[in-house]
Structure formats: structure tokens, C-alpha cells
């Protein structure tokens, strides 16, 4: 074949960049984000792991103490001390916070109508999510106030109360969670509203022909289609539950006598609060929190990986 030796004469010489831009371009685009992220997120995670093996008051030299911090946590757990309370409360948070999902769904179903002004209603229902948790916490503290809170005013009308939600070690966590559920429910509601928008109307019609009505339609036909929305609602709710800090800090400061602490708050208290500055110990708590979260992160990544493989 003569053509095999045909010279490449008409292809112009190109610069290194031009020849390799498809290979290098992604790295160029990624570089700033990766640098920032590695520096401020990835690297500190490992630093925290490391720090949890030290005792350090944030002022002097850090002292290597091996697993002593974890040992202390273990004993705190056995003795049902602060760490135990925090862990227990975190689990309560995880479970109770998930109520935002059915509640959000319920409100979304309620609002999924076309009457005049419904858009405004939807926005107003969404409102709590936009407001800072600091403000939400403040508002709910007043709401619960044992002396003048409207909760007790209302309870008074029906001859109940007064109750001191935030002053009672058994109710305080639930009281704070309820405050947290308020914005979180709004969040789930929006997710479901958009989800409902995307529900295939023909499937609903098929369901109607099949004789599915009301709850059975919801359960058998609509909910399965809302699975993506439910998944996201689940993820954001779990994350929200494990990150809960602002509300506790504002509403009770962990009290009364530490009974509303969660890991995230406890570690802040241990590491950075007035009476704290046990940095290593705080890091150890963070590592435990991280381990719990890791279960969910892995689940999330795994399901994303499955999606990608499709």
C-alpha cells in the first residue's frame, strides 16, 4: 500500500497545550477547587483523627496520650455521663428528626392544589427554612417559656400545664427537636412539592382505572414515584440531625444539667467553650460523630455509584 507512508504534511504543528488539552484541561479546572477543599476539609479531617490522640489545651504543647481520650469516652459512656447523654440524644435526634419527612409529605399533599394564590401559600409555608436557626431557636424558647410562653397559655385554656419543656431533662431534647422540625419540615415539603410535580400523571390515571384511591393510591402509586425526593429528604434530614448545634446552643446551652447535649454540641463545649479547651478530647468526640455519619455517607455514595453505573 502506498498510502501507508503518506506524510502528515498538512497537519500543522501544534503546541503542547493544543495537543494535550483534553488531558490537562480537567485538572486545570479542578485545581483551585481541589486545593481549597483539600486544605480546608480533607486535610483537617485527618488532623482531627491525629489530634484525638493528644491532650492539648489550645495554649501550650500537645501531649501524645494514645487512645486515652477514647478510653475516657468509654468510661463516660459506661458511667452514663455527658458522652452517653450526647450519644443517646443524637440517636433521638436521628429518629425524631425523620418525622420531618412524613410531615413534609403531608403538607406537600395538602398544598398540591391549584387554587388562586397557592404559589404564595407555598412560599409562606417554606418560610421557616430560610430563617436562621438562631432566630428559630430564640422564637421557640419564648414559645416554650414556662411563665408566658404561648404553649402554656394555650395549655391553660384547656386546663393543662404549665409545663417547662426546656427545663425538664426528659422533654428538653424533644422540645428542641420540635423547633428543628419546623424548618426541616418546610424543607422536606418543598422537596416533595417538586417531586409531586414530576409524578407521571398517566400512572395516576392508570391507578384510578385500577381502582386505587386515597391512601392506597398514595402508598402504591405515588410514593414509589417520590422515591428520589424521599431519598434526598432522608439525606438532608440525617445530615441536619447530626449537625444540630445552633438550636441547642441558643435554646438551652446543653442544659438543664447537660441533658440536651448532642455530640456536636458536646464537642464544642469540650473544645471551645468557657470551661473547655480539651482539644484532643473534642477531636475524639468528633471522630465518633464522624464514624456515625460515615455510615450514611457510605450509603449515599453507594447509591450514587449505582446510579452512575447505569
Amino acid at each position: 500500500m502506498t498510502t501507508a507512508a503518506l506524510p502528515n504534511n498538512s497537519i500543522p504543528d501544534r503546541s503542547f497545550w493544543q495537543r494535550n488539552q483534553q488531558t490537562w484541561a480537567p485538572w486545570l479546572f479542578l485545581a483551585p477547587a481541589i486545593l481549597f477543599f483539600a486544605f480546608y476539609v480533607i486535610f483537617p479531617v485527618f488532623q482531627s483523627f491525629n489530634l484525638s490522640l493528644y491532650e492539648w489545651d489550645g495554649l501550650g504543647e500537645a501531649e501524645y496520650i494514645g487512645l486515652r481520650n477514647y478510653e475516657d469516652l468509654y468510661y463516660e459512656f459506661i458511667d452514663r455521663d455527658a458522652f452517653y447523654t450526647s450519644l443517646k440524644n443524637n440517636i433521638i435526634w436521628l429518629v425524631m428528626y425523620l418525622l420531618a419527612i412524613p410531615a413534609g409529605l403531608f403538607i406537600a399533599l395538602f398544598l398540591n392544589q391549584t387554587v388562586t394564590g397557592i404559589r404564595l401559600y407555598k412560599s409562606l409555608f417554606f418560610f421557616p427554612f430560610v430563617i436562621s436557626q438562631v432566630v428559630v431557636g430564640l422564637v421557640f424558647t419564648w414559645f416554650y417559656d414556662p411563665a408566658f410562653g404561648i404553649l402554656n397559655v394555650v395549655l391553660g385554656w384547656v386546663g393543662l400545664g404549665p409545663v417547662n419543656i426546656l427545663g425538664n431533662e426528659y422533654t428538653v431534647t424533644y422540645g428542641i427537636i420540635l423547633a428543628g422540625l419546623w424548618p426541616q419540615t418546610a424543607y422536606c415539603m418543598i422537596l416533595y412539592l417538586t417531586g409531586l410535580n414530576a409524578v407521571n400523571p398517566e400512572q395516576i390515571e392508570a391507578g384510578r382505572l385500577d381502582g386505587a384511591k386515597g391512601w392506597r393510591m398514595l402508598w402504591h402509586v405515588v410514593l414509589p414515584q417520590l422515591k428520589p425526593a424521599t431519598f434526598i429528604a432522608f439525606v438532608v434530614t440525617i445530615i441536619g440531625a447530626l449537625r444540630s448545634f445552633d438550636l441547642i446552643s441558643i435554646m438551652t446551652g446543653g442544659g438543664p444539667f447537660g441533658s440536651s447535649r448532642v455530640l456536636a454540641y458536646y464537642m464544642f463545649e469540650v473544645a471551645l467553650s468557657e470551661y473547655g479547651f480539651r482539644m484532643g478530647y473534642g477531636a475524639a468526640i468528633a471522630v465518633v460523630l464522624f464514624a456515625i455519619m460515615m455510615v450514611f455517607i457510605c450509603y449515599f455514595l453507594w447509591s450514587m455509584y449505582r446510579e452512575e453505573r447505569r
Binding site: 489545651d57 489550645g58 495554649l59 501550650g60 475516657d72 458511667d79 455521663d81 417559656d145 414556662p146 411563665a147 417547662n164 426546656l166 427545663g167 431533662e169 438551652t252 446551652g253 442544659g255 438543664p256 444539667f257 447537660g258 471551645l272 467553650s273 468557657e274 470551661y275 473547655g276 479547651f277 480539651r278
Partner: protein, 397 residues
């Protein structure tokens, strides 16, 4: 001052309540007038937030002058080398002579690390009119105290208002009950980790405390209030008294109580065998080791402890507290007079700073949380004490 001061002077204050804030800002303004070339920047930080932030700004972004507290409370920073040694100031006759009584509280390792600018008595502030109405008089011993309280409770009021949300108010109660029950020395031993929380002495203290709790002496739901939020109960007459520092007087007056309605008495004796001792927390000024303008900072410290300045800032309508300078005059205020009198003549047992200033921070936190729990659930005492004892084992090691 030999030369004119210039440059920037950064001052951090924790006097975030309106009256003290105004008093301190006025004092700084007077200092500024004397030094027109000095560019003074004052930052007032919320008192509670300040306590956590001090570590940060001492290490990172240090001001030139910062408020803090005396005694054990300044120890971590002294040990970490974050406070400037100001022993030189204490050599100056003006300070050496006039502030001698507070020198001990400012001394660690034989050096002085700051200057005090105010101190104040603790004690029981009560509603004189209610006492009159019920025919009560100031108690001097525990029996009278309880009898009074019983009558107050019977009238549908709480004897004591208190807000323990931020815990330390309960620490004040413990201080007094323990000092009255076991004496100053035992109290100090306990706080220094040298006595057991599960000892008989401590239990006796709590037993006394419990008597008041059981009779309904304390405001309900105190665990949800800050100390300020507990004030209105006294103002409204739902509670008759408040164990508090003298800084409570200003807000009480502001809220509309006249001096005819408020009065003060020393916490009554419980165990006649121990000498009376008092809490008198001292608030201080320090120069961070990383300060930029230490000359100006020293000048400011001199300014703030000077006799006339002390008189002004501690006046009843300002801080409303006691001056640290022996040359200053105590404002002619019934509470300040009584307090000054009490501290200088009727506190033979000794003068403590305050629970969370005398005990290490970590211990203070755990203990005060225990006090709060005890006040809500007195039945948990055994559990609480064993927890405190465990904490003692860990913290003082």
C-alpha cells in the same frame, strides 16, 4: 506621664450590661481626653461569649488591654505566658500602697499579672416591702432564715428568685452554704481538689440546701432562666429575695424598684462554729503578652485604678460596686456602704473570689451542672456527688 502616648490602643471589655458598659466607656473616654493622640478602639463583648473567646484573642488577635477575673481564673493564661507580667506597676507607690489588699488575688508565682478595677459583695437582696408586709426581719441564723422562708412560701411567693441556665448562680449558693456549713478553709480545700465531694461535710451542705428546696424556697423553672430573666420575678413580687452580687442592684432599680423596696442582708450563719466568710469577686484588667502598645496599656491600667477614677466608675449609678483603691471613696449608696462594711469588718473567715474563679474551669463546669441538677432533682444527690468525685479524680490528677 513623661511622653505623649500615640498609636492604637485596643481595649476588650466584657462589661456588656448597659450600665457597666456606659461606665467603662465613659472612663475610657476620659482616658482618651488625656491622650488625644491615642487612637482608642473599644470592643465590648457579651460577657458569656467573652469567656470562651479570650483564649482566641489572647493567642491570635490580641488587644492591648482586656478584662478578666482574678485568682485561679487567670492561672491558665499566666501559665501559658499569655498575660504580661505587670509587677513593675505594683512597684509604683501609688498602686503598691493603695491596692495592697487585692495584691494577693493578682499574684501567681510571686508576680503580679494585672490590676483589679472593681469588686463587689455578694449577699441577699430582698424586697423590704414584702418583708414588712409579712412582718419579717433580716435573718441572722439558719433557723430564722427557714422560718422567714416558710412564711414567704405560705404567702404564695418564692423565697428566692434564681436563674440557673448559665449555671454560675447555683455556684454562688453553694459557696455560701458550704462556707457557712463547713467554713472557708474546707471550702477552699474542696475547690482545690483536696477534699472529697462524697465527704460528710459536703453532704451536710447539701442537706441544708435541700431544706430550702423542699420547702419550695426557690423559684420554679429556674433552669430555663438567665440571671437577668430571673429578675422580673423579684420585681413583680413573685419572689422575695435574690442571692446575688451587687451588680444586681442596678437592674432592679432600673426595673422600677425604689430603695425603699430593696434591702440587703449578709447571708446568715448556719453553723455557729465557723466564722463568716464572703464571696467578693474581683474583676481585673490585664495586658496580653502579645499586645502591641504596652506603654499605652500600662498607662491605661494606671488610669483605671487611680483613686478618682475608681470613685467614678464604681459609683452607684455606674458600676455600682466597690472601688479597689483605698484612697477612693465608696459611693454613698446604701448597698455599697453595707457591702463595704460587711467585707471590711464582718468577714473574719476570709474572702473568696467565686466558685468558678476558685475552682479549675473544668471542675467548675461539672460541679455547677451538678448543683443545677440537684436544685431540680434533689433525689439525685448521690449520683451527682459520685460524678463530681470521679471528675475530681480526673481533673486534679
Amino acid at each position: 506621664d513623661g511622653h505623649a502616648l500615640s498609636g492604637d490602643l485596643k481595649i476588650f471589655l466584657d462589661t456588656s450590661n448597659p450600665a457597666p458598659r456606659a461606665a467603662m466607656e465613659a472612663s475610657i473616654a476620659r482616658f482618651g481626653e488625656q491622650h488625644p493622640d491615642l487612637n482608642i478602639e473599644t470592643t465590648v463583648i457579651d460577657r458569656e461569649a467573652y469567656k470562651t473567646q479570650i483564649r482566641n484573642f489572647l493567642t491570635a488577635d490580641a488587644p492591648d488591654v482586656a478584662t478578666w477575673y482574678a485568682a485561679n481564673r487567670m492561672r491558665p493564661y499566666v501559665e501559658a505566658g499569655l498575660f504580661e507580667d505587670v509587677s513593675d506597676l505594683w512597684q509604683e507607690p501609688e498602686i503598691a500602697e493603695n491596692l495592697a489588699s487585692t495584691k494577693g488575688a493578682m499574684t501567681i508565682d510571686g508576680k503580679q499579672w494585672g490590676v483589679p478595677y472593681t469588686y463587689y459583695q455578694w449577699g441577699v437582696y430582698y424586697r423590704e416591702d414584702i418583708f414588712k408586709e409579712l412582718g419579717l426581719s433580716e435573718p441572722t441564723n439558719w433557723e430564722e432564715e427557714k422560718a422567714n422562708c416558710a412564711k414567704i412560701v405560705a404567702s404564695g411567693r418564692a423565697c428566692y428568685t434564681i436563674g440557673t441556665k448559665f449555671l454560675w448562680t447555683a455556684g454562688g449558693w453553694f459557696d455560701y452554704l458550704n462556707m457557712r456549713t463547713n467554713g472557708f478553709d474546707f471550702h477552699m480545700q474542696l475547690l482545690q481538689g483536696d477534699a472529697s465531694w462524697e465527704s460528710e461535710e459536703v453532704r451536710a451542705t447539701f442537706a441544708n440546701w435541700r431544706e430550702l428546696i423542699d420547702m419550695g424556697g426557690f423559684l420554679e423553672n429556674h433552669q430555663t432562666y438567665s440571671w437577668q430573666e430571673a429578675l422580673p420575678f423579684m420585681v413583680n413580687g413573685e419572689a422575695a429575695a435574690y442571692l446575688m452580687g451587687n451588680f444586681a442592684v442596678a437592674p432592679l432599680r432600673e426595673a422600677g424598684l425604689s430603695d425603699d423596696q430593696i434591702d440587703f442582708y449578709q447571708f446568715p450563719a448556719i453553723n455557729p462554729d465557723v466564722e463568716l466568710a464572703e464571696d467578693a469577686p474581683t474583676d481585673t484588667f490585664h495586658i496580653p503578652a502579645n499586645a502591641a502598645n504596652k506603654d499605652a496599656a500600662r498607662a491605661f491600667l494606671r488610669h483605671v485604678v487611680s483613686a478618682e477614677e475608681q470613685t467614678i466608675i464604681n459609683a452607684g449609678d455606674a458600676l455600682g460596686q466597690l472601688p479597689v483603691n483605698a484612697q477612693s471613696s465608696v459611693d454613698d449608696d446604701e448597698f455599697l456602704n453595707q457591702g463595704f462594711e460587711m467585707l471590711s469588718s464582718n468577714s473574719p473567715g476570709g474572702v473568696a473570689q467565686f466558685f468558678d474563679r476558685d475552682a479549675p474551669a473544668e471542675m467548675a463546669k461539672v460541679a455547677m451542672e451538678g448543683f443545677q441538677e440537684f436544685m431540680v432533682k434533689p433525689d439525685n444527690l448521690d449520683r451527682i456527688l459520685s460524678k463530681l468525685e470521679r471528675a475530681r479524680g480526673r481533673i486534679y490528677e
